[in-house]
């Protein structure tokens, strides 16, 4: 019988005790809810609740962009990317910052064209009519729900890995807390908490990065990878090469189409959006590279990884001990909360303005909208909680399924914002055909090409149909008051 030494990392199970985990969870839950109520006092009108009075300055705007984009996906999927696809994987993840850079000028254009706008779907409906807005609404809702569910799952998994809190308990608390403070404070609470969360996240990540670099011998990491997992260092790693632009285009699609980013563009003071998104991109760019390094370091450190999406927090917390685990716990909780609250607020706007108000066929009062928003936030939280409960699939499989769908929205959004000639048929067919072929690629090849195929096919269809039947859209129609939307929709569909 062979005998050997048991790894000390393994004997200790979780890194924090469940008691410490519950204590941290309680402290931060109370803090976020209290801050939500505090900031929410200003959300008296629906404009205040939905778009924070359209007066958000540069500091808060930059912070909310950074905090929202540093999601649990950044802290969990970036290390997973690196562990799956090596150096290219970490770089591929960091290209998602290009989406923020590209959206910077677009946010200024959005604010200028729709000074009283609320949602991205509202833009597509006014710009392309029903032919464009129906597929876009379905894609937006599907993406918002998959993102929300993946965040809820991430919350449960991370708290379980770090402190042994049962998945169901951790997931329920994270979702419940975010629902509560978003409910009280709307966009004011979201942006206010995002500011504090972004500061905590950035300080935490800098400390983790420095501490990990002090603990890890980079030459040893390189040597172990070279001998044991050579493809992770290979420049010619086929799947990683395919994933590079796929991830970039996925990021473009996510930001360009999602109401999370549009609602912020509407909430920012005029002229602030372009600077805030560009600064946010700059601050975000190094985060996935740091997080990705944790994934690459895992094999060299002898840390066994069972589920790749838990590699980053596990490595950081294992290396840095109890203090590090507490830090990771706080960073992760902040990054989760900052994304879940944004999604709840932005998706409830979308449901109220683009589903409920459209279905009753009359403009709703501010009070009605405010009340409906609260119901929608509770319903969204409930659905996400119910779907996340069984804990099926990894984060990547949940989220990347939406990749081809959002990738196919890039061209209709960019083209619709800047060009007069694209019409409803070009937009609708680009989204439908791009999504369909992207999904075919997802199943036939893999998640790492789905967004790329969706965006490429959608671009070709959009260009061909626009050239074949050009329209002449009048951009001034986008700034019409919302009570004329009904008539605008009908005239817009057949516009030429």
């Amino acid at each position: 019988m062979n005998t050997c030494e048991v790894s000390p990392l393994l004997a200790q199970g979780t890194i924090l005790s469940p008691t410490a985990g519950y204590l941290m969870l309680a402290i931060f839950s109370v803090l976020w809810i209290a801050l939500g109520i505090w900031w929410g006092r200003r959300a008296q009108s629906y404009d205040g609740f939905a778009v924070a009075g359209r007066n958000v300055g540069l500091a808060l705007a930059t912070a909310t962009a950074v905090a929202t984009w540093i999601t649990s996906n950044t802290t969990m999927l970036a290390p997973q990317f690196a562990l799956q696809l090596g150096i290219w994987g970490a770089l591929a993840y960091s290209t998602a910052s290009f989406g923020l850079f590209a959206f910077a000028p677009m946010s200024g254009r959005i604010r200028q064209l729709m000074p009283k706008g609320y949602t991205a779907v509202e833009f597509v409906r006014r710009r392309y009519g029903r032919i464009g807005s129906i597929p876009f609404l379905l894609i937006s809702l599907f993406y918002a729900m998959t993102w929300l569910i993946s965040m809820a799952m991430a919350g449960g998994k991370l708290l379980n890995v770090l402190s042994g809190i049962p998945y169901e308990v951790g997931m329920s608390v994270v979702v419940g807390v975010c629902v509560l403070y978003t409910l009280f404070g709307g966009m004011y609470a979201v942006i206010g908490t995002d500011f504090i969360q972004s500061i905590i996240i950035l300080i935490g990540l800098v400390v983790v990065a420095i501490a990990v670099l002090l603990h890890v011998d980079i030459a040893e990491v390189h040597h172990r990878l070279e001998t044991e997992r050579p493809m992770l260092l290979s420049v010619l790693f086929p799947a990683a090469l395919m994933a590079l632009f796929n991830n970039m285009l996925f990021g473009f699609g996510e930001i360009f189409h999602s109401n999370v980013w549009w609602s912020r563009a509407f909430a920012m003071r005029e002229g602030v959006g372009p600077k805030a998104y560009a600064l946010g991109g700059l601050l975000w760019l190094p985060v996935p590279i740091v997080a990705g390094f944790l994934g690459l370091a895992a094999p060299a450190l002898g840390i066994g990884i069972s589920q790749p999406d838990t590699a980053g927090p596990l490595v950081a917390a294992t290396l840095l001990g109890t203090g590090g685990a507490l830090l990771v716990f706080v960073v992760v909780f902040c990054s989760l909360a900052s994304s879940i609250d944004s999604l709840l607020a932005a998706t409830s706007d979308l449901l109220v303005n683009d589903v409920v108000e459209r279905s009753v066929r009359r403009p709703l009062s501010d009070q009605d909208k405010r009340k409906l928003s609260m119901y929608c936030i509770i319903a969204l939280g409930g659905v996400a909680w119910a779907v996340a409960w069984p804990n099926i699939g990894t984060l990547a499989t949940v989220l990347f399924f939406a990749g081809p769908l959002v990738g196919s929205c890039i061209w209709p959004i960019v083209g619709g914002l800047y060009l007069k000639t694209p019409g409803p048929v070009a937009a609708g067919s680009a989204m439908i055909i791009g999504s369909a072929l992207g999904l075919v690629a997802y199943f036939a090849i893999g998640w790492f090409v789905a967004s790329l195929v969706g965006a490429a096919v959608s671009g070709i269809v959009f260009a061909v149909v626009t050239l074949a039947s050009p329209n002449q859209f009048d951009f001034s129609l986008l700034s019409e008051p919302s009570d004329r939307i009904g008539s605008l929709d009908e005239s817009n569909t057949g516009m030429s």
Partner: protein, 170 residues
């Protein structure tokens, strides 16, 4: 007669003392043997076409194990390259994520370790993994396509932003 009774009592005591510790030791020996005989078994032991170089291997839980070690050997021309060459995973869960594998055929085996550091069970049948990455030409073509799409989007945004600025100035 007394001697005979005494002898029988001593014999009975020895027998009972053997019974007192014997059965549990024998049982645990039997348990270990049964674990070893059944061994550790992979949920799936044949992976034919891994094109991304990564996969998750799962095996049955061994009740007294506190750690599992997953080893890999690469096969070159029907010869095993090394004896338990690379330890791909050390962890408490009966599941390992393995990545970064180059083209080739790999044999994976697992040892279950108890808290004394002893191997209490091993895989009888290794998992065989055949890795054949996507064609580089195909990958580069898709990456090139991605680059074109990216540049086209950026060009449209830049042109649009300049045009919008011109309209505003006018």
């Amino acid at each position: 007669m007394r001697l005979a009774v005494l002898f029988l009592v001593i014999l009975a005591f020895q027998a009972s003392s053997v019974d007192a510790e014997g059965p549990s030791a024998a049982d645990s020996q039997t348990d270990l043997q049964s674990v070893n005989q059944s061994g550790v078994q992979f949920e799936q032991s044949e992976f034919d076409n891994i094109q991304e170089g990564y996969l998750t291997l799962r095996w049955n839980d061994v009740p007294t194990a506190v750690e599992y070690r997953l080893h890999s050997d690469q096969i070159y021309s029907d010869q095993i390259h090394s004896d338990r060459g690379v330890t791909q995973y050390r962890g408490p869960l009966p599941e390992a994520f393995v990545s970064g594998l180059a083209d080739g055929t790999y044999l994976f085996s697992v040892d279950a370790i108890d808290d004394a550091g002893q191997v209490i069970a091993s895989t009888l049948n290794p998992a065989t993994v055949h890795v054949k990455h996507w064609s580089l030409r195909f990958a580069l073509a898709l990456a090139g396509c991605g680059l074109v799409v990216f540049l086209a989007i950026m060009a449209l945004i830049a042109k649009g932003a300049v045009m919008a600025r011109g309209e505003n100035d006018a």
